[in-house]
């Protein structure tokens, strides 16, 4: 092409106003900053748990049982949130409990997202028979009461972290499937997909290069919300003793223990409850904020 430099009489100066970049939008969203900040803080604490925990979370000391948190009359130094019925440090146990909660949040939600969105993409893009089969599967799946199904699943699989993760994945992939299917269908009707077809792109190329990037913002928001749900489900299963073995502290397990001695030491119940509550709120706020900031349509 020898004419690249050739110019015609007209010139082009029409450039729209430049909206802030996605990163700038994320940094300016209080929901993203607060929710994400708390989750990040929790991740660091969970990874560094043995270093951060002031006491050995498993060490029992019956002489120091049900010591109240700092600031109360009989508080002991070094036990910021007091001790439980066996004299174990509540703060250290809450910190260590974050490990199980976050592991479940990321692994279970991640796997549910992967499986659900793959099926959703296929159903939404292929349509017809593939869509009919996958959609009916989702309908049937969602007819089961989820809490009952998860307890049943873990009871069959045997208690343990892997069973909790499997239970959450098996139940919650449908959330991703439904949303991604609808989103994929909507995107498939867009002009840019027809335009990509007229360049002769293959169907997989259109699905993964053209459609998927438009589904990802919804997916990220949904994934974050699902992490909050996974934390709650893990706590429920720990509460009924179906999660990890009782020598690993979990928030749900601590709530179950605290419930029994709530009249002698309310803080044993309150501390893990507050941690659980704050974590779920943080995940939900982060998901909300991400949905707003990443949506390509709202981005303009």
């Amino acid at each position: 092409m020898e004419h690249w430099s050739a110019t015609l009489a007209t010139s082009t100066t029409d450039t729209g106003p430049q909206p802030p970049s996605v990163a700038a939008r994320l940094a300016g969203d209080p929901k993203v900053v607060c929710g994400g900040g708390f989750i990040l803080f929790l991740i660091i604490i969970a990874i560094a748990a043995p270093l951060v925990a002031p006491q050995d979370p498993l060490a029992q000391n019956l002489l120091m049982a049900t010591v109240p948190p700092a600031g109360f009359a009989e508080a002991e130094p070094g036990y910021l949130l007091g001790t439980d019925g066996l004299g174990r440090d509540v703060l250290s146990r809450v910190i260590l409990g974050a490990r199980v909660s976050l592991t479940v949040a990321f692994v279970a939600a991640g796997l549910a997202c992967l499986i659900g969105s793959l099926l959703g993409l296929l159903a939404g893009f292929l349509g017809d028979r593939a869509d009919a089969v996958i959609s009916r599967l989702v309908d049937i799946w969602m007819a089961f009461p989820p809490v009952l199904l998860s307890i049943l699943l873990v009871a069959v699989l045997g208690a343990g972290l892997h069973s909790v993760i499997i239970a959450i994945v098996v139940i919650d992939w449908t959330r991703f499937c439904r949303v991604v299917r609808i989103e994929t269908m909507a995107q498939s009707q867009m002009d840019y997909v027809a335009a990509a077809r007229t360049i002769g792109f293959s169907r997989p190329a259109i699905l993964f290069r053209e459609i998927l990037p438009n589904v990802v913002p919804v997916l990220i928001a949904l994934l974050t919300l699902e992490m909050g749900i996974a934390v709650v489900v893990e706590a429920i299963l720990s509460f009924v003793g179906l999660s990890v073995s009782s020598d690993t502290p979990t928030w749900g397990g601590m709530i179950a223990e605290g419930r029994q001695i709530v009249h002698e030491g309310w803080w044993v119940l309150a501390a893990p409850l507050v941690a659980l509550f704050a974590t779920v709120v943080a995940f939900n706020q982060l998901g909300d904020g991400l949905a707003r900031s990443l949506d390509p349509v709202l981005r303009r």
Binding site: M1, H3, W4, S5, A6, T7, L8, T10, S11, T12, T13, D14, T15, G16, Q18, P19, M190, D191, Y192, A194, A195, A196, R197, T198, I199, G200, F201, S202, A205, R209, E210, P213, N214, V216, P217, P296, V297, R299, R300
Partner: protein, 296 residues
């Protein structure tokens, strides 16, 4: 016609949703090498169906019932999806109607432009990027680097259409289908875009099928034109001749409907009733299954 690049021959189509209503009735037209051929008609005349049939993106409720689309000695209608994909993007490219929806909102312009160049022209990522830059230069985009790094929503409508034109011509196709490329743009930009398409077409020797309902645009850019009404070819010929001395009453009505500022507005003159009546009778008599050629 020996020099024709695209030869649509006796193409017929029906709408399955609308009681098998015929939407194309033995339409024939030829786009010659290096010419801009206008395809004119009002909404619903079947212009877009022809464009889509060439590109293999016929909606599911439309069925092609006969005819062929000859391109390089082959019938595009009989190609397998894989064979058609090989032709599209390399030999035939589209400039779409609405630049605000035809660009993927989640991808940057460089990704959109280099995709086609890499997959269809076999360029490396680096070469494709350089080429994209040069192409944007060629469509008079002043700051190609900035545009390449932008998302579609950060560009104006005129800019987006320039990007799409650059992307289409950049693939060096033999035929470009321009599906109402100026309809969604405001008037001042329309003129620039038309001039741009004509300049690129002449420079690259590309054939263009220019689909439009805007006779003003067609008069400016097309060498020859085909007038379509109710899925039937009304008139065909060199643009200057057809517009100066339209033979068919429908073409005259279409010309009269074009608003002009140099004479008082006479309002939209309806298509002569006898023309509509004749066509309606023809549609009623049109038998889809027998494919009997109606009198031309």
């Amino acid at each position: 016609m020996s020099g024709s690049r695209l030869a649509v021959e006796a193409l017929s189509a029906i709408s399955l949703r609308d009681g098998n209503r015929p939407i194309l009735r033995r339409v024939s037209l030829a786009v010659d090498t290096g010419e801009v051929h206008g395809l004119v008609g009002e909404s619903g005349a079947g212009k877009s169906t022809i464009a889509r049939a060439i590109l293999g993106i016929i909606p599911s409720q439309v069925k092609i019932t006969g005819g062929r689309i000859g391109f390089e000695g082959r019938d595009l209608l009989t190609l397998s999806p894989k064979e058609l994909r090989a032709v599209l993007g390399r030999d035939i490219a589209l400039v779409p109607q609405d630049p605000s929806t035809a660009l993927n909102p989640a991808r940057r312009i460089d990704a959109l432009m280099t995709d086609g160049l890499r997959l269809k022209r076999g360029l490396s990522m680096k070469d494709a990027r350089l080429r994209a830059h040069a192409l944007l230069d060629e469509v008079q985009i002043r700051d190609p680097e900035r545009v390449l790094g932008s998302y579609p929503h950060q560009l104006s409508g005129g800019m987006r259409q320039r990007v799409l034109i650059a992307a289409a011509f950049g693939l060096e196709p033999k035929l470009v289908i321009a599906d109402e490329p100026t309809t969604a743009l405001d008037v001042t930009v329309q003129k620039q875009i038309l001039r741009l398409i004509r300049a690129l077409q002449e420079r690259h020797g590309t054939s263009v099928l220019f689909v439009s309902h805007d006779l003003g645009a067609v008069a400016k850019i097309c060498d020859r034109l085909t007038v379509l009404y109710m899925g039937k070819v009304m008139e065909q010929g060199a643009t200057a001749e057809v517009l100066a001395a339209p033979r068919h009453p429908y073409t005259r009505a279409l010309l009269a409907a074009n608003p002009r500022y140099d004479r008082p507005d006479t309002g939209l003159e309806p298509t002569p009733p006898e023309v509509i009546a004749a066509l309606r009778a023809e549609i009623a008599a049109f038998d889809v299954s027998s494919e009997a050629p109606p009198d031309g």
